[in-house]
């Protein structure tokens, strides 16, 4: 026997205190058009301040890589390799989860300031400075011929010119004269040698304007909190690219076109179309849908029961990553085609590029070019039926965790934690005589227990809807029952009927993932959840529905009205909230 999951096993509390957010909803065919919006805009509300954000570890690495590449194109790889051991000491950001849960959240929200961050960024700066000036060839490339010629009379001008060029790229804005003086002063007196330049480089790379998003605003007026053009260029590039602005953005800032509505919108479109944006959005969907929680699928190979369960579809060490990639390829497809947000739920194309994953779909692999093939099995209805959201790494499906993911990640519902003694009660094991659903029901839906409160309503019904897929994501009509030694004991039909209560008060019964997907799409709650999650990703903090209602409502409204996913994702950057900050 194997434990399925004891996370939500039965306890003794009395009632489920979770919440399905949003207005109560009757089925649309009962008359009237129910309100689907969860957010409202109070124009006078002042959003919270997120003070002096530091670069995330990803942003820091990207920024440094771009800077080195631009400074020493031919030797960039060598330089980056030489500083790798220092770079590896930059602490990885941790996901910051909403209060009361260890699930969800985004690494972008991690604003802890570790000693290790200061130590490592200092060491990287020193090492990069040394590497960029390691030879006269590198010094010449970095600074120009003035750095290596025989004359020392031009050293000061040479250094100042370098500080202005290198500084602008590193600090994402022109370097004011007083800061040029401060940087060049570090070099000491002329003649300027390589070690002195290395120190100047290190100073730039440890500057608060390099390590932080320093935003002073366009003016000093307390009534005007708009960002200046360079600050806005940085916000835009770091949001979509995870790195600093390119030449075109800096030029737009310098020329003033970024301050115009048309000029800014043009840059938003250009930045969004850049391939770096797709990579950044991969990170968004990966964390929003918690795809990173999918563990390796080959850990149980060698266990007789697991071996019997997987049969010829033995998972390799890369399969879980391929499953995740397949989902992210779908999001890229929906984004690039201009499909609406709901298509994330309903897209029915296979993006399986390898045979091991395609076999789980009973299809051939897609070669990555041209139109991906449609699912051939009608039960594959979209996101909920992709293996990345079904696989468990064991021989047993995890209906409770599947339901939990749909509730808390895709619908942004609040699900209370399991009771204190959940783990102390009967584990949910594979049974030689019952389906997983039957075992889960027997343990978590006992009348009169607190378990039943949450499991009956919030969790199990959502998870049961995909029980016609096994723990590798293969479609099935029956659940095969195994003994611990792998012997096949028989099979029982799977049951996908449930009352998922997608919206409060919606007691319609559904059967299978297709009907649950339809109910979710009808509810508009997936789009509301997108608005909430994308707000967190964009602004790097939890939302306050009272003071952030305008941005949230705008994103929600666009998503629910059928706007393309791409338009909704761009919209955040076009909002006034994105283009200003709060000073307190």
């Amino acid at each position: 026997m194997r434990i399925l999951c004891t996370l939500f096993a039965c306890g003794l509390l009395v009632a489920c205190q979770g919440s399905i957010v949003g207005p109560p909803q009757q089925p649309p065919d009962n008359g009237g058009t129910p309100s689907r919006s969860q957010f409202s805009c109070q124009a006078s509300a002042v959003p919270a301040e997120l003070p002096l954000r530091r670069l995330s570890s990803t942003q820091y690495r990207n920024m440094l890589t771009d800077l080195v590449t631009a400074s020493l194109p031919a030797d960039a790889s060598e330089v980056l390799l030489a500083v790798r051991s220092s770079l590896d000491r930059i602490p990885r950001d941790q996901r910051v989860t909403p209060a009361g849960t260890t699930h969800g959240g985004f690494t972008r929200m991690d604003q802890t300031l570790q000693q290790a961050f200061v130590d490592a960024t200092y060491q990287v700066a020193v090492d990069v400075g040394r590497q960029l000036t390691l030879s006269s060839t590198r010094l010449g490339t970095l600074m120009g011929a003035c750095a290596t010629d025989a004359s020392t009379a031009n050293d000061a001008a040479c250094l100042e010119g370098f500080v202005r060029r290198f500084g602008q790229r590193a600090l994402r804005r022109p370097v004011p004269e007083e800061e040029v003086a401060a940087f060049t002063a570090v070099a000491g007196s002329t003649p300027v040698d390589a070690a002195a330049v290395a120190d100047v480089v290190a100073m730039v790379l440890t500057s608060p304007y390099f390590l932080y998003h320093v935003e002073h605003g366009a003016t000093a007026s307390p009534d005007d909190s708009r960002l200046d053009a360079y600050e806005l260029a940085s916000r835009l590039s770091f949001h979509f690219w995870q790195t600093g602005p390119d030449e075109a953005l800096l030029n737009a800032a310098a020329s003033g076109t970024l301050n115009t509505e048309e000029g800014y919108a043009q840059q938003v479109r250009r930045v969004f179309e850049d391939p770096r944006t797709a990579a950044t959005l991969d990170g968004f969907f990966n964390e929003w849908w918690r795809l990173h929680e999918l563990d390796r699928l080959d850990a149980r190979l060698g266990d007789p029961l697991f071996d019997a369960f997987v049969g010829a579809d033995r998972p390799g060490p890369e399969l879980h990553a391929r499953m995740v990639r397949e989902v992210l390829d779908m999001t890229r497809h929906v984004t690039s085609r201009g499909d609406p947000v709901a298509a994330l739920l309903t897209n029915r194309k296979s993006f399986a590029r390898t045979e091991d994953l395609a076999r789980l779909y009973s299809m051939s692999a897609w070669n990555g070019e041209g139109e991906p093939p449609d699912f051939t099995d009608a039960r594959r209805v979209g996101l909920l039926t992709r293996p990345a959201l079904l696989a468990s790494g064991s021989a047993n499906t995890r209906p409770i965790m599947k339901g939990f993911r749909i509730r808390s990640a895709l619908l942004c519902d609040t699900v209370p934690p399991p009771p204190d003694n959940a783990a102390a009660n009967n584990p949910i094991n594979l049974s030689p005589t019952s389906t997983t659903r039957e075992v889960v029901e027997a343990i978590t839906q006992q009348p009169g227990t607190a378990c039943a409160g949450c499991h009956n309503t919030l969790l199990n019904p959502m998870g049961f809807a995909t029980e016609n897929f096994d723990a590798l994501g293969r479609a099935r009509l029956h659940q095969v029952l195994f003994a611990a030694d792998g012997q096949r004991l028989g099979e029982r039909p799977v049951d996908t009927r449930s009352v998922p209560q997608v919206s409060p008060g919606d007691l319609r019964e559904s059967q299978g993932a297709g009907e649950v997907t339809r109910l979710i799409a009808e509810s508009g709650r997936f789009e509301s959840c997108l608005a909430r999650q994308y707000f967190r990703f964009t602004f790097g903090r939890m939302e306050d529905t009272a003071t952030d209602g305008c941005a949230l409502a705008a994103l929600e409204s666009a998503a629910q009205s059928g706007a393309s996913l791409a338009d909704v994702l761009r919209l955040a950057a076009l909002r006034p909230e994105f283009r200003r900050r709060t000073f307190r």
Binding site: T6, V118, V186, G302, P427
Partner: protein, 512 residues
């Protein structure tokens, strides 16, 4: 080109620059305190924190002690000498506390303590912060987990790291605390200027491999003609921004203060001179061990991984480049290939005994190959007439007691006498055996004394005074909270007020 030099740099250059140990932060000690500290051998603290737990008391602890009893906090507590039995070359205190007789010697056991009956007196699941006192770092499961998550605390390693009572001098100290592993250590975002507790944040790992740790602690000295570090200029650049007329919010300035404090700490380290002579860079890095795809299921590799850390820790502690180390232990020390938490830890009470046997064997391996290994390596003369181990406290704690997520009788295995502060060589049992939580459990549990009292004991052993770490309404260290559920005892019966009234004391029988 004329370069304006700063006064402090001139001082540094004039006095020898990089080779000079010049504390840049104001001393927090009075002269008499400094003299007293100088006379006493430095104390060191090392703790290994193992995930999961779930080892039955019968496998973890020696036979019940009976040599001495005493009434304390409404119960009869007991103690006896640690009695080592040797058979077929194996020395044994208990099934877990056993090792080859050549390494687990009576001499080493005389420097150990085994403590039973120290509880986190409420339900706490999947916690990593509780070992060292930040109960808030749990998964928020259940009412208790959610409640205590509102009360983040610094972990005791950070309390010590920033205490002038522990570090009366930072001369030669490169790292105040070595943190190996994630989410075990918590401290203020600005330790020099703490706020109200809302600024408690995780302290990231000092290093992620043994050689990286070595390189950080024993950096290559700068070559001849090297320029001075620019760290003071870096500090000034933040100061310049902070004090500028440019528009910043109050919170922006607070963030700059935090950064500047960190730069100050970096500056202190960069001017630190070590006094340990030559040390040899390890030829092997423990990170390389983990690259083997089979590593998660190779207990010998797990042992080797931590032994390589042990080597660097001993060098660090001997040289005095740090005096605190906390280590998170998450490898299983087992060949088990499934989900350890669900399939082993949570099934440790299964009647077939399979999971319990797996747990016991894994913990025994860890004890022998890591804890005993480090204790022996520390048991060398540190130049004070005692061994490094004698002047240290080496602790092994586990996430849970005898049932995963229950926190009664969390095993505490210690080595070292902290310079004579602790009595050693004893097995002490603080459980109240007159009150059992439930008679229906596979292995019974009884209420003990509080984890707060243990943490306070450690801090006092390390030279801190109670006013330095105790909150106004909490004796010992931590939060005052208890809750008993699903038991035949009420909370008041299991954890009466009297145990909180003694929580500020050193645990009985531990003071030498």
């Amino acid at each position: 080109m004329k370069t304006p030099m700063l006064n402090r740099r001139q001082v540094l250059r004039g006095l020898g620059g990089f080779s000079l140990a010049l504390p840049l932060l104001p001393s927090l000690l009075t002269p008499s305190e400094a003299r007293a500290q100088a006379a006493a051998p430095p104390k060191r603290f090392i703790q290994f924190c193992t995930d999961h737990g779930g080892v039955w008391g019968a496998n973890m602890f020696p036979a019940d002690p009976s040599a001495q009893t005493r009434e304390y906090a409404g119960r009869t507590i007991r103690r006896g000498p640690l009695s080592l039995t040797v058979q077929s070359g194996r020395a044994r205190l208990s099934p877990v506390l056993s090792a080859d007789a050549s390494v687990l010697t009576s001499g080493l056991v005389a420097k150990m303590n085994v403590l039973r009956g120290v509880d986190i007196p409420f339900y706490i699941a999947h916690h990593t912060g509780g070992h060292l006192g930040n109960y808030a770092r749990n998964d928020g499961n259940g009412g208790d987990g959610t409640h205590v998550s509102q009360f983040p605390r610094r972990t005791i390693d950070q309390v010590m790291a920033w205490s002038p009572s522990f570090y009366s001098s930072l001369s030669g100290v490169r790292e105040r605390a070595l943190i190996l592993g994630e989410r075990i250590s918590y401290g203020y975002s600005n330790p020099q200027s703490p706020q109200d507790g809302s600024d408690i944040q995780v302290q990231g790992a000092t290093a992620t491999s043994s050689r990286q740790l070595f390189d950080k602690l024993f950096p290559e000295p700068p070559g001849g003609g090297a320029r001075l570090p620019i760290v003071d200029r870096v500090f000034e650049s933040y100061q310049r921004l902070r004090n500028s007329n440019r528009r910043l919010s109050t919170e922006d300035r607070r963030r700059l203060d935090e950064h500047m404090q960190r730069v100050s700490e970096l500056q202190r380290r960069l001017t630190t001179v070590t006094s340990c002579g030559s040390v040899t860079r390890p030829s092997q890095d423990n990170e390389a061990i983990t690259w083997d795809p089979g590593y998660p299921f190779q207990p010998d590799s797990h042992a080797h991984y931590f032994q390589l850390y042990n080597d660097v820790l001993v060098m660090a502690l001997l040289c005095g480049v740090s005096r605190i180390a906390v280590v998170k232990v998450d490898p299983t020390f087992s060949t088990f290939t499934g989900d350890w938490h669900q399939d082993v830890a949570h099934r440790a009470t299964d009647t077939d005994g399979v999971a319990q046997a797996t747990l016991t064997a894994a913990h025994q391996r860890f004890f022998e190959t890591v804890m005993v290994d480090l204790a022996r390596k520390l048991d060398v003369d540190d130049g004070t007439g005692r061994t490094l181990l004698d002047n240290s406290l080496l602790v092994w704690s586990q996430e849970s007691g005898n049932r995963t997520h229950d926190s009664q009788s969390i095993p505490l295995i210690t080595f070292g006498g902290v310079g004579g502060f602790l009595a050693t060589g004893q097995y002490v049992d603080y459980r109240n055996l007159s009150r059992v939580f439930s008679t229906g459990e596979a292995e019974r549990r009884w209420p003990g004394l509080t984890w707060n009292q243990w943490l306070g004991t450690v801090l006092q052993a390390m030279g801190l005074q109670r006013p330095e770490y105790e909150a106004a309404d909490v004796a010992g260290y931590g939060v005052k909270y208890s809750n008993v559920q699903w038991a035949q005892l009420t909370t008041a019966e299991a954890y009466p007020e009297v145990i909180w009234s003694v929580a500020g004391e050193v645990l009985p029988w531990l003071k030498a």
